[in-house]
């Protein structure tokens, strides 16, 4: 088997005197479902901002699909196959749901869409937004907005999808709804990194979980191992 899809090596990110990431190393296999957890301020979002390119790391290396992407701007990484959703939805407010998906499809998806014209309608159906295709984002509910975030990321035809707290603030049933979508996408061969505070969801979804605390990786393992790990318990609950 080839190397991992994503390799993060010794990633360091500082904001002034504060070290948000302190030499984080991470490997993600193609097709894997990885959960990324940690207390607030542990560096989860900073890590994925560095992976997606929104932030430039101060040290370390990021290799995606065999290519060193450390110095690439975000749009180039998206074209290579890294797509993300945002924790706070950032839709293109002046466009319809359909046109929101048209942007990544046109700018990133077409470049690699092997199956001819990748249909936006198909993605919308899969995610359950087809009835809202012609609405503007302002007319969407909270969960539909989260779905739009995922659908838009999917329109970039990614190999790796990073879901940044796609479920925060949703009801029990809605969380299950989003989980089912993510499982379906993964079944199509898309590698998924899930960042989430809802433990029930991460535990069910992830094959492997990485725990960050204060910018360092403190644990890694299957959900069962993580639950029993004393270091993780300490990070979340204190001494």
């Amino acid at each position: 088997m080839a190397g991992p899809l994503l390799e993060v090596d010794g990633l360091v990110k500082r904001f002034g005197g504060f070290t948000a990431l302190n030499g984080v190393t991470l490997r993600v296999r193609a097709g894997e479902r990885l959960g990324l957890i940690g207390p607030n301020g542990s560096g989860k979002t900073t890590l994925i901002n560095c992976v997606s390119g929104v932030l430039r790391a101060d040290a370390g290396r990021i290799v995606f699909d065999g290519a060193d992407v450390t110095a690439l701007p975000p749009h180039r990484r998206t074209r290579l196959g890294i797509a993300r959703s945002f924790q706070i939805p950032k839709p293109f407010a002046s466009m319809t749901v359909l046109d929101n998906l048209g942007i990544p499809l046109e700018y990133a998806g077409h470049a690699r869409a092997s199956q001819g014209t990748a249909s936006v309608a198909e993605i919308l159906r899969e995610i359950g937004l087809e009835a809202k295709a012609h609405l503007q984002p302002a007319g969407l509910t909270q969960i539909e907005m989260r779905k739009l975030e995922l659908a838009r990321a999917m329109a970039a035809r990614p190999k790796l999808l990073i879901s940044d707290e796609a479920m925060a603030g949703l009801s029990h049933a809605e969380v299950d709804d989003i989980l089912a979508i993510l499982f379906r996408l993964n079944a199509q061969g898309i590698t998924i990194i899930m960042i989430e505070h809802i433990m029930r969801a991460v535990m069910r979804f992830s094959e492997r979980i990485v725990v960050l605390d204060a910018g360092e990786r403190i644990a890694e393992g299957t959900p069962d191992e993580i639950v029993r790990n004393p270091a993780v318990e300490k990070a979340y609950l204190g001494e």
Binding site: S52, G53, V54, P73, P74, H75, T78, R79, A83, R84, F86, K90, P91, F92, A93, S94, M95, D99, G102, I103, P104, E106, Y107, A108, G109, R152, A153, A155, A156
Partner: protein
Amino acid sequence: MARMGRALLVGGAVIAAGILFASLKLNPYVYFAGYVILQYVVIATAWNILGGYGGYVNFGTPAFFAMGAYTAVFLILSLRPPLFVLIVAGGLVAALLGLGIGYLTLRLRGVFFSIATLALSVVLQTIIVNWEFVGGSRGLSVIRPSEPPFGSYVKFLFAVMVALAVLSVLAARFIEQSWIGRGLAALRDNEEAAECMGVPTLRLKLFATTVSGFLLGVAGAPFPYYVTFIEPNSAFALDYAVNALAMPMIGGTTSWVGPVLGAVLLGSAQQVAIVTISSEMNLFIVGVVLVAFVVLAPEGILGLLRRLRGH
């Protein structure tokens, strides 16, 4: 592509109508006022490529306009090339300036970008005021070429401005309906999200500032021949900054039609006010109309029409 062909056809027809109009024997003031309105069509359209499509509000329109005008002055004084050369050169110098402010967008967004463009205008005006060769603060007289087409230079400039207006509107329309326009709309809505969805935001912003700058310079290049006396206060007038922003806002910023509508309506109203009330009234009119639109119809006339059709 059929739509493209039709647009070119309509554009050609408008230019032909402009030439026909210029050969009529109307009151010279009609051409004089018409020139200003058309000049504003170019300015509003150019501003909107960056401000409307891309969401970067440029308060420094006078800087670009004056760059076009003073490049023309410089060339008239040194080489006296034909008007066409003045227009292209004025456009290119302003385009370079546009590329420069494009790089500002790396660090400055929103209101900070706008303030920087305003400052740019002030800095450039200070340079021109202290540059004696192009007239300094006293200004200088520009002598028009003799024996113009249509028997009058103002008529000739009017016809030229018709062509420039058509070309800028065609350019704006093309940008708006292409992948560039869609990318600009995405970055206007949310720059970070656009970048993460594969949109090369920096490249698109540089494109928009450069093209917008070029067209603003093009609008300013014939100005010295139009006024025949050029001085910094008129070339860097506040009117350009205010009108460039107000006209697209009043017409509607999301489509090429908006700036044209705004420029024609507001520009005509200003010209009428100058004659019938006073020359000081025109900015007052803009102010009142702009406030009314921002409060009552923030999406301009186009938005208003859309709302009426929707319900």
